[in-house]
């Protein structure tokens, strides 16, 4: 009972009731409206509603409100925590706010207007800053930019590349054209800045000479006063801009109190948009409309009754045909539910498949704990997530994630206690010598890594066998019992036999020998059964034994359990060692506390990530690889989806 059974629902109702009925369906929140694709029989009768442009308009409106809300959230002193629930709001309040939406639009428009002004100010400020940067090198020049040429002389500013030898150029000019004056104003990494006066009649000579040094004219004709004066002026203007900006931001901040109303309007439009989208999936004639969709089987009757009570319409509910795929809704035991998150990240199961969550969850739980393997970290994870879960009403993804953290923390605590990991080797640092604490209830993998390695392989083999079992279960469900026996049962016999033969002693060894031989013979005889001709059958049968290596390389992959488990413990120990370098005096203890807290938080974070990634990988690659297809489509019922608020008094089903 993991994938919820669905029924097909078709409703034919009156056009005039359409909007209203969609709204009631939304409030029920259990019907997925699928796209109505008219077949030949229908296409002459019905047309589809065109709501795309409405939806686009609503989306544009949503964008506008959103940017206003973002502005206001800078000024709203109430910070919304990461885990804060949506605000509860009564229908009455909601309706009041929606009725006054002109007022809210007004605010949105004003904020948009201010936003535009702010943008203008920003670009003006950028322009001025660039100007200052341009004038900066000319600061030593005390001659104003607007000094005019006289009748016979030209006054000129210019730059030479940094590599040019300016001193030589100056000398050269004085020798060849004594009727000129040149002054080097400034030099930086890129350029030399020069000031030049020459007699008009000698322009050609001066220019030819200067060109050799890569001279380029610079013109500031539009500016009055010296560089310094211009810089000062620009700075003053920037000051003014800053003040103006402050003023505008103050104007905006006046609306901070209205933020909640904006949020309500946002959610109102969001609901409108969803409704329009749903209507776009329907088809209609002049007077009636038709809706196709899916509804969970156990709710079908209730939905049918509710709709029939309210509206004049025809409701037809039927089971999907054999093998027909339907949208997937998972329902699992509350302890398994958080692990759905891991499967969902891979892919949802198809509706025709078995939900793997119940089989996967215990292993994920165990592997995560083994990899993190520190009782102290486990305690922190469980306590922190439990507090957050208790204090805030979280929803959806965040809720599942926190629960997952809480559960995995328990597993981490358990394995940490088994292996003697308490914030690394913290107990032995403070003088605890109890062997069960220092070296764990079971054993300490740092002292005996081989033992944990072998256990990792054992856990891995069990995991893989369960995966193969799931494959067998899938085959049996499809009625292919013999396939299950040949493809799974014989492998069990063969592999278990091989393992017993490898490690067992005495009778076990003998049993293993015969099991593996029996299994191998069985596999050779059956694995080629789809091939034609006795030779080909036998040949593929023999070849299939090669899959044994695949099994054992899969088992090897579980060695990561040891590696990651050791990593957490050893890094924890490194942190404790670093902290205790300064001895047991007061300063030493203060330093220890600081290093201890910072270091272990770092270690916890990096290893939680590692454990999550690697336990997921063991599920995705090793476990799911055995039997799982995935590729199901999630059940997305039409419902009231909001971002900021929760409406009270909804019609519940």
């Amino acid at each position: 009972m993991a994938i919820v059974d669905m029924n097909k629902i078709s409703i034919i109702g009156l056009q005039k009731n359409k909007e209203e009925m969609i709204t009631s369906l939304m409030k029920m929140g259990v019907v997925e409206v699928s796209d109505f694709i008219p077949d030949d029989q229908w296409s002459e009768l019905v047309t589809k509603d065109e709501t795309e442009s409405d939806v686009a308009t609503l989306e544009a409106d949503l964008m506008r409100i959103k940017s206003s809300i973002e502005y206001l959230s800078k000024y709203n002193s109430q910070k919304r925590g990461l885990f804060a629930p949506k605000k509860e709001i009564s229908t009455q309040e909601y309706n009041e706010i929606i009725q006054n939406r002109e007022h809210i639009w007004n605010i949105v428009d004003q904020i948009a207007h201010y936003d535009e002004q702010l943008m203008q100010l920003l670009s003006e400020e950028n322009r001025l800053n660039n100007l200052i940067a341009t004038f900066e090198p000319w600061k030593p020049l005390t001659v104003p930019f607007d000094v005019e040429n006289t009748k016979n002389t030209t006054v000129l500013l210019g730059v030479l590349p940094a590599i040019a030898d300016v001193e030589k150029m100056k000398q050269n000019l004085e020798e060849n054209v004594p009727e000129s004056y040149v002054e080097i104003i400034n030099a930086d990494k890129e350029q030399n800045y020069i000031f030049l006066i020459y007699v008009n009649s000698l322009e050609n000579e001066v220019m030819t000479l200067l060109k050799q040094y890569g001279f380029a004219k610079v013109s500031f004709n539009d500016f009055h006063g010296t560089a310094q004066e211009n810089i000062n002026k620009a700075r003053q203007e920037i000051e003014k801009i800053k003040e103006k900006r402050k003023e505008i931001l103050e104007h905006i901040s006046v609306f901070a109190g209205e933020k909640e109303k904006l949020e309500v309007l946002y959610d109102y439009l969001l609901i409108q948009k969803d409704r329009k989208e749903a209507i776009g999936r329907l088809a209609h004639t002049n007077n009636v409309f038709v809706l196709n969709g899916w509804v969970p089987r156990e709710l079908s009757e209730k939905v049918e009754k509710t709709i029939l009570q309210k509206y004049d319409c025809i409701v037809e509910i039927k089971r999907p045909e054999e093998g027909e795929e339907f949208p997937v809704l998972l329902r699992n035991h509350p302890l398994v539910e958080p692990f759905e998150l891991i499967t969902e990240m891979y892919s949802l199961p198809k509706s025709t498949e078995v939900d793997p969550n119940a089989a996967m969850a215990p292993f994920y739980f165990m592997f995560f704990g083994l990899m993190l393997g520190d009782a102290g970290y486990g305690l922190i994870m469980t306590i922190v997530t439990a507090i957050i879960l208790k204090k805030y009403k979280t929803e959806g993804l965040m809720n599942k994630l926190l629960k997952l953290g809480c559960l995995c923390g328990i597993s981490t605590f358990f394995w940490g206690a088994m292996f003697g990991g308490w914030f690394g080797d913290f107990p032995s640092r403070i003088g605890i010598t109890n062997d069960k604490i220092v070296n764990g209830i079971w054993f300490n993998p740092v002292n005996d890594p081989m033992k944990l390695l072998i256990w990792s392989f054992v856990f891995g083999a069990i995991h893989l066998f369960v995966g193969m079992g799931m494959q067998g279960y899938n085959l049996i469900r499809k009625g292919k019992i013999w396939d299950a026996v040949f493809d799974v049962g014989l492998w069990y016999v063969f592999l278990i036999g091989l393992v017993l033969f490898g490690v067992g002693k005495g009778v076990l060894n003998d049993i293993g020998k015969y099991m593996s031989i029996a299994g191998a013979v069985g596999l050779i005889l059956t694995q080629g059964r789809s091939k034609e001709g006795i030779i080909k059958k036998l040949f593929s049968g023999v070849l299939s034994l090669y899959n044994t290596t695949a099994f054992f390389s899969d088992v090897m992959s579980y060695s990561r359990i040891l590696a990651l488990g050791l990593a957490t413990g050893v890094i924890g120990t490194v942190i404790n060692t670093m902290g205790s370098l300064f001895g047991t005096n007061v300063i030493g203890i203060i330093i220890f506390v600081i290093v201890f807290i910072g270091g272990h938080i770092f270690n916890l974070a990096i290893n939680v990530l590692g454990s999550y990634v690697h336990s997921s990988r063991l599920q995705y690659v090793e476990f799911f690889g055995k039997f799982y297809e995935g590729g199901g489509k999630a059940f997305q019922p039409l419902k009231i989806k909001t971002k900021y608020i929760n409406l009270k008094n909804e019609e519940d089903v």
Binding site: A563, L566, V613
Partner: protein, 164 residues
Amino acid sequence: MAWYEIFFNGKALAVLGAAVAVIFAGMGSARGVGMVGEAAAGVVTEDPDKFGQTLLLQALPGTQGIYGLLTAFIILTKIGVIGGADVGEISIEKGMLLLASALPIAIVGYQSAICQARAAVAGINIVAKRPEELAKGITYAAMVETYAVLALLASILAVTGIQL
């Protein structure tokens, strides 16, 4: 003591092994984390909300450096440089063995960090276009890490297996 014995003795070789593990694995991780960081910064300029997601991917090639440190720590503890265990004189042969056992994580750690970073950069592209598929990007990058884990395992088993 002949002058070359200062450089060429058991303890020095073992410390060299620890150093090699930290140096190469660390270099690989530094390069890898840097590569992913550059790509991530590009995505975050467009959409600052993706910081958390990209940070996850950036952290992935960082583990090799930690594995290197881990190996170094185990070696240093074994020869008594850390923790002060009295192991007496370490022969050149044993020192050489410890040096050799650091090589898997040093070399594979270096290479796998960079390869993993490439996969993670590709994962950043996934996040840029389809943030909901982050887990798949992480899984691709994590596949590479398998070989760093195996190398670490080989190094740890070798170090703990050597009898001083």
